[in-house]
Symmetry: C2
Subunit: 343 residues, 2 copies
C-alpha cells in the first residue's frame, strides 16, 4: 500500500512531514511517496539516515500553494504544485491514499478537480474527529462547502455515519443536526428544511437536533452542519480550550506558593488529559465523498500528527471507506430526488 | 427608576428571581416591579421579610409562557402572560427597563410585538458579553434573528459598538465579522456580502474578519454574526468549558494521592478563575434595537445573576443606551439604502 504525502506549504516546513513519514513506515505496513522539492526532501532523508529506505520514495514537484492564495485559481494555474502532483498520484492509482497539511482550500480544490467525487455525491465534506466525555464525536462538514443545501447535509449525515462506523468503530452511530434547540421547529431556514429529510433517511440513525453543548458531552456520534458553521465551531473550541488552559495557568501561578506547589503535583495527571485532548492523536480530518482516502491535517502538524494521519490513511484504505460511501450513497433514500436537486 | 422583573417560567422558579430583586434594591438606586403570580410573589416577599419594602411592588400576571411553546403564537394568544404584562409596563412608560429569564424566544417576540423596534432598526439582536483573556468581548447576534441579511449584520455592528462603549467602557471598540478566515475572500455568501458594507460604515471601527479562536483571545471587542451562528458558538463554548473542567477534575481524581493533594492546593486559585469565567457576573444579555433596555438572562440564573442583571439594567437606563442606538442608526452610512432593503 502506498500513501502520498504532500510535504510542502505547512507552518513548520517539510522537516516535520518527512520525519512523520520516517516514523510511519516503521510502524505501519505501508510505503510513503514524499511529494515536494526533491533536493529538500533528499537532504532531510540523508539527515535522518533514511535515504536508502525502500519504503520511502520521492516525487518531485516544483511549485507550492501558499495559505493565502485563492485555492481554486492556484490549483488550476500551478500544474506542478505539490498538492496537485500528489492528487494526480491518487487519480492514476499510483498511490492509495493522500495526506496533506498545506492549505485546506487548495487540498479540497485539488481533490475536486484532480481526483473527483464519488458518483452521486453532491459535495465532499471534511469530517473532523473531536474528543468527547465518552469517546469521539465526528463533526462534518468542517469547511469544504460553506453554503450547503439541505440535500448536502443529508449526504454529510450518511458519509459521517460510515466514517463513525469504519474509522471510530461505533455501531449504529447516533446522528444529530446541529441547531439552536432540540425541538424540530427550532433552527434556521437550512436546518428546518434538512430535519424532515434526515428523519426520512433510512440509512442513518437520526436522533434529531443537537446543540453546541452536545458536541463534547457524548450524547451524539455524528454532528451534521454546513462548512461555515462547522469551521467556526472548531475554531471557537480551539480558541476557548487555549484560553481556559492559559487562565488556569495564570490562576495557579498568581495564587501564591501553595497553589504553585499544587500545580506541580497535578502536572503528571494533566499530561494524560493533554494527550486525550490533543488533536494530533487523530492525525487529521478526512475529506469524505472523493474517490480515495484524502486526509487534511492542521497546518501546524508536527511529525507525530503526520505519522498518525498516515496510520489513519492506512486504516481508511484497508477498511475501504470510499467503496462503502459509494454503496450507501447509491442506496440513499429518495436518491433520484437528491441527485436531481444537486445538479 | 423602575425595573420590571418577569419572575415566571425559569428553571428554578420565582424564588431565585424574587431574592435577586430583594438584593438589587439594596445595592442599586432603583425600584423593582415583580411581574407574575401575585400570591406566590407575596408569599416569597413575606418569607424574606420584605413584604413592606416600598422599593418592591407586585404586578399580577395570570399566565406563563413555557420554554417549549412556540414563542410567536404564545405571545399573541396569552395576553396575560408575565412576559407580555412586563413588556407592556415598558411600553406604557410605567417601567424604564426589563429583566427576564424565561423563554428567550418569547422574550424577543414580546419585545417585538409589544414594545417595538427603534426607528430604522431592521431586527433586534441579542448582545452577549463573553470573558476574554484581556477583558470582555461582546458577541451579537446570539439568537434573535437566525437568517440575517448583510444589512442586519451591519446594524448589529453599529449596535454592538454602542454596547461596548456604553456598557463595557471600551473606547472606539474593534469590530470583527465572524468568518472562516481573515482574508476578505473567505466566508459564506452572507459574510462575503457583509464585509464591504462593514468596510464602508463610518460609525464603526471595523478590523475585518475574525475567526472562532479570536472570540476569547482579546484581539476584538465586538464580534458580529447571525443569530444561528452566534447561538451555536455560545452553546459550544458553554459545553466545551464544562467538558474541560470535568476532564480536569477526572484527571486529578484519577491521578493518585499526590494529584489529589495538588488539586486541593490549587482550589482557592481556581475559585477566582471560576468567578472570572462565570456568566452570572454580567447578569444577562441585552436585546439591542428595541425601544427600552430589555435584558434576557439564562433560564438557570440564580439570585446573584438576577441582581447583576438588574444592576446592568440600571446602567443601561442611566447611560441611555437606546437613545444612543437610535442616534447612530439614524446617522448610519447609506441609511436610506439600508432601510429600503430591510422593508
Amino acid at each position: 500500500m502506498k500513501i502520498a504525502l504532500d510535504v510542502m506549504g505547512t507552518d513548520y516546513g517539510p522537516k516535520e512531514l518527512v520525519l512523520g513519514a520516517v516514523m510511519a513506515v516503521k510502524e505501519y505496513d505501508c510505503e510513503v511517496v514524499l511529494v515536494g522539492d526533491e533536493v529538500t526532501i533528499r537532504d532531510l532523508l540523508k539527515k535522518y539516515d533514511e535515504d536508502t529506505n525502500p519504503k520511502l520514495s520521492i516525487r518531485h514537484a516544483s511549485e507550492v500553494i501558499g495559505m493565502k492564495e485563492h485555492p481554486g485559481i492556484a490549483v488550476k494555474t500551478k500544474k506542478d504544485a505539490s498538492i496537485v502532483v500528489a492528487t494526480d498520484l491518487l487519480r492514476n492509482k499510483q498511490c492509495d491514499a493522500l495526506v496533506s497539511s498545506g492549505s485546506t482550500g487548495a487540498a479540497v480544490a485539488a481533490a475536486l478537480f484532480h481526483l473527483g467525487r464519488i458518483r452521486g455525491v453532491g459535495r465532499p465534506a471534511i469530517a473532523t474527529p473531536i474528543p468527547s466525555l465518552t469517546g469521539t464525536t465526528v463533526l462534518l462538514d468542517s469547511g469544504a462547502k460553506v453554503d450547503a443545501k439541505p440535500e448536502h447535509l443529508v449526504q454529510n449525515a450518511i458519509m459521517g455515519s460510515v466514517y463513525a462506523e469504519l474509522m471510530l468503530n461505533i455501531k449504529n452511530p447516533r446522528v444529530g443536526l446541529l441547531s439552536i434547540g432540540e425541538e424540530e421547529i427550532k433552527g434556521n431556514e437550512q436546518t428546518l428544511a434538512t430535519f424532515p429529510l434526515l428523519k426520512d433517511e433510512k440509512l442513518i440513525h437520526f436522533i434529531g437536533n443537537v446543540e453546541g453543548r452536545d458536541i463534547n458531552s457524548g450524547v451524539v456520534d455524528v454532528v451534521v452542519c454546513d462548512g461555515f458553521v462547522g469551521n467556526v465551531v472548531l475554531k471557537t473550541a480551539e480558541g476557548l480550550a487555549t484560553a481556559i488552559l492559559t487562565m488556569v495557568k495564570e490562576a495557579i501561578m498568581g495564587g501564591g506558593m501553595m497553589a504553585k506547589f499544587g500545580g506541580m503535583l497535578i502536572t503528571p495527571a494533566l499530561r494524560g488529559l493533554k494527550k486525550r485532548l490533543n488533536p494530533d492523536a487523530y492525525g487529521g480530518a478526512l475529506l469524505l465523498g472523493v474517490r480515495a482516502p484524502f486526509f487534511i491535517c492542521h497546518g501546524s502538524s508536527r511529525a507525530n500528527a503526520i505519522k498518525n494521519a498516515i496510520g489513519a490513511a492506512v486504516d481508511g484504505v484497508k477498511r475501504d471507506i470510499c467503496s462503502r460511501i459509494a454503496e450507501d450513497i447509491a442506496m440513499q433514500t429518495k436518491a433520484d430526488k437528491v441527485v436531481g436537486s444537486l445538479r
